[in-house]
């Protein structure tokens, strides 16, 4: 149990996917203008990443390893993730129109979110068990959401601030992201 808890803390704070591993930077910059959309995207990512981690783990164990074709890992995982996102989108649209309205536009974006592929690959590399995989997938996406929401809060404040002309726009956003990343480096050594 303690090990699983540490796994979550490690994925959220110490090895944050966005701020320490630098995965999923695209949505991190793309949908962080407003906290509301950031939270929506974060929720969608949590959902997809957890499910994707589990499914890719199963595929890896049940298909890739027995046939000895682990070198096809990347292609297979992308295929699985893409179809999974499509499926999730369909199911949500049918079962919960409200949730679909909220997440709808972000779901297709996740298809190409490298953090999702990252978590699948890392699960394999680290040789996690099934439960560990699920927990790690959840933790990693939680970390992504935390980073995204924090960053969007900062950007909302910056939007109102008097930014020097040379730094306006993407420049100040990248500087802020860098500072946030530095802040997260403070967690280094917390686990292990």
């Amino acid at each position: 149990m303690a090990k699983l808890l540490l796994l979550i803390i490690g994925a959220v704070l110490v090895n944050n996917f966005v701020l320490t591993r630098f995965l999923g930077i695209c949505p991190f910059l793309g949908v962080s203008r407003r906290t509301e959309t950031a939270l929506g995207m974060g929720m969608a990512v949590i959902f997809v990443m957890t499910v994707a981690a589990i499914v890719t783990w199963i595929i890896h164990r049940a298909v890739l390893t027995p046939f000895g074709i682990e070198y096809l890992q990347t292609v297979t995982f992308i295929l699985v993730i893409a179809s999974l996102v499509q499926l999730v989108e369909m199911v949500i649209q049918k079962t919960s129109p409200v949730l679909y309205q909220a997440l709808g536009i972000y779901l297709p974006l996740i298809t190409t979110n490298c953090a999702v592929l990252g978590v699948a690959v890392l699960n394999v590399q680290k040789g996690f068990t099934f439960v560990e995989t699920a927990i790690f997938g959840f933790g990693a996406s939680l970390g992504f959401t935390v980073a995204l929401v924090l960053f969007s809060g900062l950007r909302e404040k910056i939007a109102l601030a008097d930014v020097p002309r040379v730094f306006q726009g993407t420049a100040i956003a990248l500087i802020t992201a860098g500072l946030l990343s530095l802040a997260f480096m403070g967690f280094t050594g917390l686990v292990k």
Partner: protein, 333 residues
């Protein structure tokens, strides 16, 4: 290698099969009416109907019972198409177009100072009401031109917003956006407008603008239908009474009153029908009809203003429009 090929294509097949099944299983049924409605709506998402966009309006039509005549932008055709899809009788309101009530361009009106700021009327208004000396003058900084979804607004060379009645759909976005509040919606039939909004004294207006309403009340006196009245120091047309005769246009000393396609078509008397009853000579506000009793009357081309009063009164229906641009029955209604 074959294993790899089979495995990957197998996975792809399974995934596509799963998705295909899921697409059927979880298919969301959208009312086909909504899609059909979306097709007939103009799709400019102007928001004049009160909904965020055309597709929202289409959904509101089906689900919330929004009025079929809600779409201002599409005009008559759209309302008819929507009504047909919804299976109800269309109620077509008159087509309205926006008119900018100012014609004091840079040449005619004075400025208080030189404005060198953001090219936007809303921004300019913050700086002591804009650079025009007249507090109601069109600033011509393109705010209405930018918001118009139909490209109907153009800024004239003189720096005045001019709205093309052909392109204008009467959506009213410019009316809301104009910070000077000098754009109004007027029925397209009512082609006469007093292009001034200044309620300052005549002498003040004259100092600031060569084409403003100076409250001389000439138009009030000349109007045969009592359609013009003074509100403060500004002449206002009551469009319920206005018959679009254009007399006020000819008489306005500052040319503040304008009419689209003015001079308007005149009338003529059909000789074979006229019995010389003389009723038309009595109703004509400009004494344009002459003739002896019991003899065929004649319309003086110079004096007739095309108010069409005589057409309504003639018991023999002997009077008609010379150049039928708008029919008499339409105007009478």
């Amino acid at each position: 290698m074959w294993i790899a090929v089979f495995c990957l294509s197998g996975l792809g097949l399974v995934a596509s099969l799963g998705l295909g099944l899921a697409a059927r299983r979880f298919a969301v049924e959208v009312d086909p009416k909504i899609e059909a409605l979306e097709r007939v709506l103009p799709g400019v998402n102007c928001g004049a109907c009160g909904y965020p966009g055309c597709s929202h309006f289409a959904r509101a039509l089906v689900e919330e019972g929004a009025p079929v005549s809600g779409c201002m932008a599409g005009g008559e055709d759209t309302v008819l198409a929507v009504a047909e899809l919804m299976g109800v009788e269309a109620v077509i309101g008159e087509k309205r177009v926006a008119v900018v009530l100012c014609k004091g361009g840079r040449g005619e009106s004075k400025t208080k100072f030189t404005y060198r700021g953001v090219e936007d009327c809303k921004a300019a208004v913050i700086v002591s009401g804009g650079d025009k000396a007249c507090p109601h003058g069109c600033l011509g900084l393109r705010t209405c031109e930018r918001v118009c979804p139909f490209d109907a607004v153009e800024i004239s060379k003189d720096g005045i917003a001019v709205i093309d009645p052909e392109k204008c759909t009467g959506c009213g976005i410019c009316v809301k956006e104009c910070p000077k509040e000098i754009i109004v919606l007027v029925s397209v039939e009512k082609r006469v407008s007093i292009l001034c909004c200044s309620r300052e004294k005549g002498s003040e207006v004259r100092k600031k603008c060569a084409v403003g309403c100076i409250a001389c009340e000439t138009c009030v006196r000349v109007c045969p239908f009592d359609a013009i009245s003074m509100e403060g120091n500004l002449a206002i047309i009551d469009y319920g009474r206005c018959r679009v005769c254009g007399l006020c246009i000819a008489q306005c000393p500052t040319r503040a009153i304008e009419g689209r396609d003015w001079p308007f078509p005149r009338v003529e008397i059909m000789d074979d029908r006229c019995t010389g009853c003389g009723i038309c000579t009595m109703v004509c506000p400009v004494d344009a009809i002459e003739g002896e009793k019991k003899e065929v009357h004649k319309v003086s081309e110079d004096r007739c203003v095309g108010c069409l009063l005589c057409i309504d009164r003639c018991p023999k229906e002997a009077i008609r429009l010379r150049a039928p641009a708008h029919s008499a029955s339409e105007l009478a209604a």
